[in-house]
């Protein structure tokens, strides 16, 4: 009997029954779960963001507080001495200027050349395009580290070691296949009629690229620019290998060199003040570009 009646229930009835039951019994349970969810999320993000908080707190401490035999949580009398000290350090200022110079030049050069190459791979039909494109994708497999040794020898031969050239100029040649790929994917989505019309009006590919495609690709360009900015601002291996003189150091190399491994006591407030100032542009870029960045990861991830 019971089995029969169950069989007679339609699917819609079951769904209705199910939703009704859920609505009746879960209010309290759901509330507790929501609360637990928020507790988890808040603690999680607090833990994740904590290193930044600690960086800031330490930069406001005195030397004695930072190196005390016990942990000083919050500086008793917050000081800006560490910042004054690090701003007076001409090597630090110099490395700040170096980093800005290198980043701006490399990002600018790479962005333009990547956009040019992506245009060729997405908007022009030419014989051999697929072969060259496949070749480009396959270079993504070669790790940067495999190239750094021979590139070092090459730059050494032409006398570029101890200059900014090795970390800025290679980017001008559409450095970064992943970036070309990301931009190409975006440019493929732009309707083809636009440049067909322009071509009939007698526009050259250079004009179409600059006047039609580039303005329409702004979100993707912003994504690529942010990725490149972050990569160059954080870059450690290449500057370590190529710069070699203190006057050319970029921020990551210089700030890392502030820690003296031979000593047990470090000038932590000064180091952390330098860290705060190094991190600041990244944070600003992140806040402004986060929607592009978060979108870009997913774009390159799901379509790659």
């Amino acid at each position: 009997m019971i089995e029969e009646s169950v069989r007679e229930l339609s699917e819609a009835d079951v769904l209705a029954l199910y939703t009704k039951r859920r609505r009746r019994s879960v209010t309290l349970r759901e509330r507790i779960e929501r609360l637990g969810l928020y507790v988890l999320l808040v603690t999680g993000s607090a833990i994740v963001l904590f290193p930044l908080v600690w960086m800031l707190l330490t930069s406001l401490k005195t030397f004695e507080e930072a190196n005390a035999p016990y942990l000083v949580w919050i500086p008793q009398d917050p000081q800006l001495t560490a910042y004054v000290e690090i701003i007076k350090d001409t090597d630090f200022l110099r490395s700040y200027a170096n980093t800005i110079f290198v980043t701006v030049l490399a990002v600018g050069g790479t962005l333009i050349s990547v956009a040019v190459v992506a245009y060729s791979f997405s908007r022009i039909q030419w014989p051999g395009r697929n072969v060259v494109f496949f070749l480009m994708l396959s270079t993504m497999m070669i790790p940067y580290q495999a190239l750094i040794v021979p590139q070092y020898v090459f730059f050494n031969k032409i006398g570029w070691i101890g200059t900014f050239n090795p970390i800025t100029i290679p980017g001008f040649f559409a450095g970064g296949a992943a970036m070309v790929f990301l931009l190409r994917q975006f440019m493929l989505q732009i309707p083809r009629e636009l440049d067909e019309a322009a071509l009939i009006d007698g526009a050259s590919h250079l004009q179409i690229w600059w006047h039609v495609i580039m303005p329409l690709s702004r979100p993707a360009l912003a994504t690529v620019a942010t990725f490149l900015f972050v990569a160059h601002w954080n870059s450690l291996l290449a500057p370590l290998v190529y710069l070699q003189t203190k006057s050319l150091y970029t921020l990551p190399v210089y700030v890392a060199s502030l820690v003296n491994p031979q000593q047990t006591v470090q000038p932590w407030p000064t180091i952390m003040a330098a860290s705060v100032l190094t991190t600041l542009p990244l944070l600003v870029a992140f806040v402004f570009a986060q929607r592009y960045l978060l979108g870009g990861i997913v774009l390159s991830g799901t379509k790659g």
Partner: protein
């Protein structure tokens, strides 16, 4: 002061001129070829533009990838110390690397350790965070940003130094918190000690693999279960350097989380409703609906994450800072490559290391792709 900037700007201008000239040259050459083959005007024009626009990459590929790769393959069979010319030594570099060099073996063991333990930890945390964020909470955007932020900052030496400070074994933040938690809550203390015991045994075993003797493991085992006051030693001990690096890797798993989040958004609601009608519990829904449908995202994260860990450099560089006692416990292959090539100026040897690394990355990536049929499902069956 300004001269180094002016120098690079001058060279940038020269480079731009060179790129433009080479683009026109490559484009013209391509046009000549298609014209000889009898293409129409439009086709000629497109061929010229196509090659001219792609030329920066083509020329860059030849200068910065193809020639270096060929040169580096050759140099890996030579003894090459700048500025002396390279001398052919055959397989000697590779033989020394794979059979004699204990530091390289240590670096290899460390790198595999990080892949074996760090990658699952990253994937697990990333998935957990994505599941939490997928519940449509208020402030979702803020939480997503917060969890993604370490990806932006995590490779910067300046931020890594904050971790060095927090990891200080005596007065660092992490251990201070562990100590006070352990004092007020006995279960936490017990858990911490169990964690210390497991980590130290595992790491002592791996250090044994590196050295070929298991003295350290015996020492750890004979000292028994850690006493109540013990805390992790983090950067001060070769037993703890790799767990410290893994913690940093987990901290910056935000891009994996975003991939998972995007994949979770793509799962149709009906699947869960159907599963609920069938009476599936929450765990069953996760195990038989969510997890299989996430497997393409897991696969992507696995491959990208594995390659990233195999190429790890920044974290061990900043955390180790040439500290000789822990160095062997924390060297990664790339860190060792950097030391061998640029500290000791052995170009030929460095080239050999870089090729061994490349082959490892290739093999492991191909293996992942071969294995994917067994567990990656692109449709729910």
């Amino acid at each position: 002061m300004w001269s180094s900037y002016v120098y690079t700007l001058t060279w940038s201008a020269i480079t731009v001129a060179f790129i433009v000239a080479s683009s026109v040259a490559v484009g013209t050459l391509a046009r000549l070829v298609v014209r000889a083959r009898g293409a129409d005007r439009r086709r000629q024009h497109d061929t010229f533009s196509g090659y001219a626009f792609a030329s920066p990459w083509i020329v860059g590929f030849i200068i910065f990838v193809l020639l270096p790769v060929l040169a580096s393959i050759y140099w890996s069979f030579t003894s090459y110390r700048l500025p002396n010319p390279p001398q052919w030594v055959g397989l000697q570099n590779y033989v020394r690397l794979l059979t004699e060099d204990r530091d390289f073996r240590a670096a290899l063991v460390n790198t595999f350790y990080l892949v074996a333990f760090g990658l699952p930890a990253q994937l697990g945390v990333a998935l957990g965070l994505a599941l939490l964020l997928n519940q449509r909470t208020k402030g979702e955007n803020f939480f997503r940003m917060a969890f993604y932020l370490p990806v932006i900052l995590g490779l910067n030496a300046a931020v890594l130094l904050a971790w060095v400070l927090m990891f200080n074994a005596n007065t660092g933040f992490v251990n201070t918190v562990l100590r006070s938690l352990g004092k007020s809550l006995p279960p936490v203390n017990w858990l911490t000690r169990a964690f210390i015991y497991i980590v130290e045994i595992t790491n002592a075993f791996f250090i044994g693999l590196q050295n070929g003797n298991y003295v350290l493991l015996q020492k750890v085992l004979s000292s028994g279960f850690p006493p109540p006051h013990r805390v992790p030693l983090w950067l001060q001990s070769p037993l703890w350097i790799k767990p410290s690096i893994i913690l940093l890797l987990v901290w910056s798993c935000g891009s994996m989380m975003l991939i998972y989040l995007a994949a979770l958004n793509g799962i149709p609601r009906e699947f869960y409703e159907a599963a609920a009608v069938d009476g599936a519990t929450r765990w069953q829904r996760f195990r038989y609906v969510t997890l299989p449908l996430l497997s393409p995202a897991t696969f992507y994260n696995l491959v990208v994450g594995m390659i990233a860990i195999l190429q790890l450099f920044e974290q061990p560089y900043v955390l180790l800072r040439d500290s000789p006692t822990v160095a062997r416990g924390g060297y990664t292959v790339v860190l060792y490559l950097w030391r061998a090539t640029f500290r000791f100026n052995e170009v030929g040897y460095g080239a050999a290391i870089s090729w061994v690394l490349t082959v490892i990355i290739l093999i492991m990536t191909v293996a992942q792709f071969k294995l994917q049929d067994r567990w990656v499902r692109y449709e729910l069956r």
